[in-house]
Symmetry: C2
Subunit: 445 residues, 2 copies
Amino acid sequence: MTATPTRTLASFVVETDDPPEWVMHEAKRTLVNLLAISVSASVHPSSARLLVWARAEGAARQARIIASDLETSPSLAALVNGFLAHLQDYDDTHYPTVLHPSAPVWPAALAAAEETRANGRDALVAFALGCEAACRIAMSVHPWHYDQGWHITGTVGVLGAAVAAGRLYGLDADQLTHALGFAGTQAGGVREVFGSDGKALHAGRAASNGVQSAEFARAGMTANPEILAGRRGFWAVLSPNGHNEDELLGGLGERWELQRNGLKPYANGVVSHPIQDGVIALRNEHGLTADQVTRISLRVCHLVPELMNRAAPTTGLEAKFSFQHCAAAALVDGAGHDAQFDLDRVLDPTIAELRSKVAFEIDPAIPEHEAYVTIELKDGRTVSTHVEHASGSPENPLTDEQLTEKFHALVEPVLGAERAQTLFDAAWSLDEAPDVTDLLGLTRP
Amino acid sequence: MTATPTRTLASFVVETDDPPEWVMHEAKRTLVNLLAISVSASVHPSSARLLVWARAEGAARQARIIASDLETSPSLAALVNGFLAHLQDYDDTHYPTVLHPSAPVWPAALAAAEETRANGRDALVAFALGCEAACRIAMSVHPWHYDQGWHITGTVGVLGAAVAAGRLYGLDADQLTHALGFAGTQAGGVREVFGSDGKALHAGRAASNGVQSAEFARAGMTANPEILAGRRGFWAVLSPNGHNEDELLGGLGERWELQRNGLKPYANGVVSHPIQDGVIALRNEHGLTADQVTRISLRVCHLVPELMNRAAPTTGLEAKFSFQHCAAAALVDGAGHDAQFDLDRVLDPTIAELRSKVAFEIDPAIPEHEAYVTIELKDGRTVSTHVEHASGSPENPLTDEQLTEKFHALVEPVLGAERAQTLFDAAWSLDEAPDVTDLLGLTRP
């Protein structure tokens, strides 16, 4: 097979056995985060519906579903686990592209690792490489691809999932190139379904199709030697307005995109995070309550109204894509956890009234992790702040301690404190585990 | 739910119980054709690889795979059956759009019918409605969508598959709208993988995702009320250069697109069919052999070189997308059945030399079922012909007798004459069958 961009990427994946230690540490942090949000998401009604469906599929018991007693085929486990990981929009975000890499890639890595009885270190390496591939493919089509309406977590995630699974299946570079071919031609997911079960399904489908793409290549099936750069390939068809090959391959093995992957402090769309940081800072500094406020004025990146302009959300999922709700709940509750998107908070009259007082203007010069927040008060005062780097962004990352707190806050209500600690310890020492098989079993309720 | 284009289409599907009798007859013809090509495809090595994979998935035994002893989940059966139906490029073609409707839609209808123990007539109605929906959605984005590089059989087929399965699951119009939402946001398949296992996978994935989309809606999951016309929906994202809503909804229930759906006389890409008609006509009229020929000159539609310009194919699959091979094999063998794409025919020196003598020019005024064929001979003579409507096209359809011959030619080598006849009779009387469950069982080797 000739050296094409896709084949070059595949060779890098096959030949890289020792990512830097900080990359391995960051990979573990993403897993701790993923387990926390997935366990938390398992009690959501949409998860219950999907689980009933998955149980009826009745597939062979080779891989585990998080926070369930169900074992199923690797690709089906990846589908459900990908759905869980993305359902609450509480997963990690690759800042340059708004890709959520863990939700499609980790479930694929875990399922393939379970099937092959891989050790923990190999699973972490597979995730790191799948994540790297996904982030780089995302950068190669950003911003044109996302701007056209594609949900990049679905469309690009499937390629990262194929890399992670293919690496654990021991594919050679040619086979992995075909796996990427199958994955790329199954890429899908449009932004129209944001705010519905469809969005989380994108991550699940990407994880599942990634696993299956690697399985197809392992079975000797063949796709195409160049799915990215081919004349009718991913770049041409899914990003017709532009692409950048240098972003795909430049500095491979030297620069790792996990450095620009952030863990979220708030359970909602990432572009409103600096708003919430600012509102909470002003609330705490000045002891603000809702009845004092006449207006919350925001100066923000264009993506905020583009993605999250919902002045009157009626469901929890819609509220997660309403910057007005995020701002109002931040002022009233001082937080943006899942509890702030429960239906009773969405319908709360105080929050609803405050949502109607949120105004915004777009500043083209502002990137998505920055915001200016001004709050006008009934007594005539005006307080304001500038958030340059939202918490959870690469310049202001969640600390290991903050991540630990987030984990326990999300997992303990489902599993209890003792089992939460056991799961936390197992995830945090995954690089020493001889087998990943037991890890997900620790999430069983 | 408000009346949107998608919701209007869903209402039509839910409320239509009696398609015209000619539509029901045409639906049966597509099933006879689908069974023939799928049984024939079952002995292909790619099919064997996919079947080994499907067996390992080990899903619950609810639906049958054609020409196999394997029973599996409805969506997995739909995946494999869709792959089989499209693998040899011998399936039906909706002429206005180059959509192959049966390969994604019939496997979804059959799987859902098996799961629900539907009778034969209900399965035929479900197919007719799924096919109608797919063809109309295809027309609404043609030619922009295909020209961008999308394989319309995959991208649009999933919506037709969701309609067929959703109809058999008894979804109401709102649920079916959500099923279409899930289906549309999972649409995928790029033309880059033509000539590989990826192309047939598009049909299988569409069938499978269509079934699952209907299952998700049945389970109470929700997607989006308007997947087609939404701001970031199918039309905007997958057909940014244009769409036509009138083609989707105009004359619903009066005009049926099965009228423009053709069954193929040749086992290769449809755009070369008029070439093969012309070459075979000249061959038979003048008793031509390869050693007499100095040049075969073609005047053709732009899609011929666009889709099938492979002067030196090296595999059977590539040869099916080589108009040069199709023309050369037609002259040497007088046919275009699967046998003409066996590797020994692809590598045959006489055919290979003749391929190099095939020249073409594009005539922008020529539609895809028309061609001018001129053959220059060593003795100085030139013979030529004009094919206005390729055999199998709507204006020159395969007769029931030709279809019967095709069925037996394809099925008898696999199942033997007696069982081929039994299967044929069962398919042809499906509208009287109390249960479709037994039909696919008759294909078991």
